[in-house]
Symmetry: C2
Subunit: 214 residues, 2 copies
């Protein structure tokens, strides 16, 4: 089986999950923590080399404050949780904003190994695609590799994006790394994560003909 | 019904269509001309304001020469065909390459009205996302609107991408304009285009909750 080297995760549907359960919207976010850990372990098991989790974006912070506080806490908890695993962690996002949680700043400075190190995990926190690309320039050097000049340059090309919650879009997930990504959408909400979702995505990916335009 | 202002078209599956018919791969491309015109007329009818067609990319030109000549001819013919319609045409792509067909150069210089003008039509010919973004810079002005500095700056944000041929990916379709696009995939190959495909995509789009991250 052809295993994607790098999987991008869009864990959507937390608010809709909460509303369906008769809860207020912000109650959905911490129900995404266990799925995130389960998924990490499945990736580890099958030999995925890199995972990028969509935490929250600068756009998302325009939502009601109670929701913002709740998804910010869930991201902090998720990153802390991953420090107990064997992982090489990097948080990517705009730290020059009050919306960025201070406790995660050390994780943005450089990729850090936890446990025995191993699988690279990128966690997008207060990420924005415009922020990411803003300092992208070439200074007349036509041979410069442009992807080296973006803020998310330590995140490699993403082979497979898996999105929960039924929406068929990238919603600002790092645009340059997803130019050729295969995108698999799961209708269930992220808090209803099941390992079968992941296996379905992998089986589908295995059947795709990857050409990168050639 | 909520009509997308701007629709992106990825007309994939021409080669697979040809092989299924027992033809050689390059025979599929000119079978995409009529579908392209039919789709244009449907968009006109319902009041779409802008269409972007994925012609071919710089990556695609690495394919065997007989295929390259065939898809290049199909693009030239498609653009010429659209000059008989009421449309405001622009071709976007890397003209500083032998792979760019000379007869289309006039269409790249500025958007030109044909007939009574009207719906904006962008046709990507020898397009490359890296080429598009290469001169993207900010000169320390943090407030600059970065999307004004890309080569495809005359192409607006795309609301709905419709892809034929079953693949669930963007394959280098203009990355900054598709950051928030809803993506609808049709399994049939492009030469098998039916108006129903388009109506299905519109019905699906009408049900999507567009938030742009907010």
């Amino acid at each position: 089986m052809r295993i994607p080297k790098h999987i991008g995760i869009i864990p959507d549907g937390n608010r809709r999950w909460a509303v369906n359960k008769g809860l207020s919207k912000e109650k959905g976010y911490d129900k995404g923590l266990n799925p995130g850990l389960q998924l990490f372990k499945l990736c580890e098991e099958i030999g995925v080399e890199e995972i990028t989790y969509y935490g929250f974006t600068m756009d998302n912070t325009k939502r009601p404050k109670i929701q913002r506080l709740s998804f910010t806490k869930a991201c902090i908890d998720a990153v802390k949780m991953l420090t107990s695993e064997n992982a090489s962690l990097l948080v990517v996002g705009n730290t020059e904003s009050e919306m960025f949680p201070k406790s995660l700043i050390p994780f943005t400075l450089k990729r850090r190994d936890f446990g025995k190190g191993g699988i690279k995990v990128n966690f997008l926190v207060n990420y924005g695609w415009q922020w990411d690309l803003r300092d992208y320039f070439t200074l007349n050097n036509k041979n410069t590799n442009i992807t080296n000049m973006i803020k998310s340059r330590d995140i490699s090309r993403i082979d497979l994006v898996i999105r929960w919650g039924g929406r068929r879009r990238l919603s600002g997930f790092p645009p340059l790394q997803t130019v050729y990504s295969d995108i698999y959408v799961i209708d269930d909400y992220w808090p209803d994560f099941k390992p079968e979702h992941f296996y379905q995505a992998l089986e589908w990916y295995d059947k795709q003909d990857i050409t990168l335009g050639g």
